[in-house]
């Protein structure tokens, strides 16, 4: 992985430390306050020009992580530094600057397009809000962006409903690029799209990344998509970042039993291939009442006594490969072989 090692020498563009987000909810019958523990002590970094993939099942906290970093919701604890600035203490002017540098692409492009406004206006809107350029300059920039994502000038006069889902996602991308951001948080950008359109969008994202030196935080549940686009991947389960590794390393040597389980659940892409399935029983426990100790212990086939009581800490097994699991507590090298044997 030469590209990754060369970028890791730099300071990270975004560094997230011990991010925690609880939501207060009313419990049904009593007045007792309860909390959904959506994100719990998540730490990771994104370097310039790289794509960090965040994977996990629904309810694992991956979208909440993205939204909290964007300051769309306030964290309960933890820190995030963007270019060495403390994201969570930014106020007014600085926050506006931050929002210029960090943009977001959503699963449903309609959520960022006003149905009553023409596309040309929607794409120009971020520049208007941030007071960038004259009207003529903005128009020129919109034309440039729209042609970059594959539209001709006459499309600018149209309304969102005149476009297909894939086209609207491309418009959403053009809009996100309007302010020349450094980091784009992509929250499930292709999961609502058909296969043939999905590949168009993935190709576009890869091209734009090298053209504009963009960094992506790519949140998705489809592992083959994340494998394709991400340089490094973090696996989330019930609010915890249970494993983190460079992409090829993660797919070659998944360490956490949950990661192994997740990878084994991907359907084999050819009828002649049969994947060895790890069968796990049950669903993800409720984040209202996460299990004590290791959050995965209720479903883990390798569960030990210690897992039920003690929360595992992050342990670096090889360069850039960390895991939160008691199986790797003692000597790293010895346990690696255990896990490979168990994983196979």
């Amino acid at each position: 992985m030469p590209s990754v090692t060369s970028v890791t020498k730099h300071e990270p563009l975004l560094e997230v430390k011990h991010l925690t987000k609880y939501f207060a909810v009313k419990s049904g019958s009593s007045w007792r306050k309860q909390q959904v523990k959506a994100v719990e002590d998540v730490s990771f970094a994104i370097y310039e020009g790289e794509t960090y993939g965040l994977v996990g099942e629904s309810g694992s906290g991956k979208s909440t992580t993205g939204r909290t970093i964007m300051r769309l919701t306030d964290p309960s604890a933890g820190e995030a530094f963007f270019q060495n600035q403390d994201v969570f203490s930014l106020r007014s002017k600085e926050l506006q600057n931050f929002r210029r540098e960090v943009q977001m692409i959503f699963q449903d492009p309609n959520s960022s397009l006003d149905p009553k406004k023409r596309i040309g206006y929607s794409v120009a809107e971020p520049m208007i809000i941030h007071g960038q350029g004259t009207k003529a300059e903005r128009k020129e920039r919109v034309l440039e962006l729209m042609s970059r994502v594959g539209f001709s000038p006459h499309h600018l006069e149209r309304f969102p409903h005149e476009f297909s889902g894939g086209q609207r996602q491309r418009i959403g991308i053009a809009k996100a690029l309007a302010l020349n951001p450094k980091l784009i948080v992509c929250d499930e950008p292709v999961s609502a799209l058909d296969v043939s359109i999905q590949s168009q969008i993935l190709n576009l994202l890869v091209e734009l990344q090298s053209e504009f030196q963009l960094s992506y935080l790519f949140i998705a549940h489809d592992l083959s998509v994340v494998r394709h686009i991400a340089d490094r991947i973090g696996v989330m389960y019930l609010g915890h970042l249970v494993e983190q590794a460079p992409t090829d390393e993660l797919f070659a040597h998944p360490l956490h039993p949950y990661t192994q389980f997740l990878l084994s659940a991907i359907p084999a892409p050819h009828p002649k291939l049969k994947r060895e399935r790890i069968i796990l029983q049950g669903d993800i426990p409720s984040p209202l009442n996460p299990p004590p100790g290791c959050v995965f212990h209720t479903r883990c086939p390798f569960v030990m006594d210690v897992c039920r009581q003690v929360k595992p800490v992050n342990r670096e097994i090889s360069t850039g490969h960390t895991v939160q699991c008691h199986l790797y507590e003692e000597s790293a090298s010895e346990d690696l072989t255990i896990s490979r044997r168990k994983g196979d």
């Binding site: 043939s196 590949s199 190709n203 494998r227 997740l262 659940a265 359907p267 892409p269």
Partner: protein, 342 residues
């Protein structure tokens, strides 16, 4: 599979009346499903795969929908049945499960009420017997502690559990054909694996046929023995599952197979793109419907519609140029495969 087909759809045309005139959402579709077989129907949004499924059960409002062709099930043409007799077929002989189980479950009744209702509606059993049967069905679909779960409301269950309840409901009258319309699309990959495994097991146990509608080719690879690929209301290719993956003949099928990121492929490498997007049904010209997006399209494609022809035994394809395309792809055995002399 030498028996007679369980379901035989012949030249089905489903026409909707819309404000902008009539639309043939399904346009001349034919296929068979045999007992104990899973047939996959694949295609992207708007290709008519769900309309085909719902036409088989005649679920559309028949004041604005017209069906033509034949749907033969157990020796009778479903399109000729009275509404009353059709009601007997639905749920009893043919069941359907949808992508979103919440839309088919009633939020104000417990899971148990709904399963017991389905059983007593179609079968002459006492409520006690129906209750026992409901417990047994929930256990069959892998729900733990079924006696307690009977008293649960749909919102108290997770997405995967709800889909299991839907399957239990669909199986309550031991149908001979199960139509599953994107049954795992809304589910996480780990839950998807459980549900697919469950469907496979139940198919063998109950000896039913499954018609699986999906856009996900890896689900097809894992579940189906035969596959029908649809595009804009037409069948464009039909073959057994291994042939579909090894020797696809239609450019659209090839495109679909190639545009999925491959787990073994080079990361960030440019993925194959099918250019453009699926046009609206109303805009379809009288020609090959894939021609505007096809890299191999010629004048004949843009002026005349190709027919679905038999390229090899059991392999049908709707393309003017499938022989040349197979040759140009440099597949050494392509010609021997489709049975033509080079």
């Amino acid at each position: 599979m030498s028996q007679t087909p369980l379901l035989e759809v012949k030249n089905l045309i489903t026409t909707f009346a819309t404000d902008d005139g009539t639309v043939n959402a399904v346009d001349g579709v034919s296929f068979q499903v045999y007992p104990e077989e899973t047939v996959g129907i694949v295609g992207e949004s708007g290709c008519g795969k769900s309309v085909t499924a719902e036409s088989i059960l005649r679920l559309f409002d028949e004041t604005t929908t017209r069906y033509d062709g034949e749907i033969r099930f157990a020796g009778q043409d479903l399109l000729q049945l009275s509404e009353e007799k059709m009601r007997n077929v639905r749920g009893n002989d043919i069941s359907i499960i949808f992508q979103d189980p919440m839309s088919s479950l009633n939020p104000v009744y417990t899971i148990g009420d709904q399963i017991i209702e389905a059983i007593t509606l179609h079968q002459k059993v006492s409520s006690g017997q129906a209750r026992d049967r409901a417990v047994e069905l929930l256990r069959l679909t892998g729900i733990s502690d079924p006696e307690t779960r009977l008293r649960a409301y749909p919102h108290e269950l997770s997405g995967g559990m709800r889909q299991r309840v839907m399957i239990a409901l669909a199986l309550s009258c031991e149908p001979r054909l199960l139509i599953a319309d994107e049954p795992t699309t809304a589910l996480d990959v780990t839950i998807q694996a459980q549900i697919l495994e469950l469907m496979n097991g139940l198919k063998d146990r109950l000896r039913m046929g499954i018609m699986l509608i999906t856009h996900d080719l890896s689900v097809v690879a894992q579940m189906c023995s035969r596959v029908i690929v649809m595009y804009l209301g037409e069948v464009i290719e039909e073959t057994d599952v291994v042939t579909l993956f090894d020797h696809p003949l239609h450019p659209y099928t090839m495109g679909l197979l190639q545009s999925v990121p491959n787990m073994e492929g080079q990361r960030k490498e440019k993925l194959y793109e099918i250019k453009g997007s699926v046009p609206a049904m109303q805009d379809v010209a009288h020609c090959c419907r894939f021609a505007p997006r096809c890299p191999f399209a010629t004048d004949v494609c843009r002026s005349e519609p190709p027919v679905l022809e038999e390229a090899a035994n059991g392999h049908r394809v709707r393309c003017w140029h499938f022989k040349e395309i197979a040759e140009s792809r440099g597949e050494g055995d392509a010609f021997s495969y489709i049975g033509y002399e080079a």
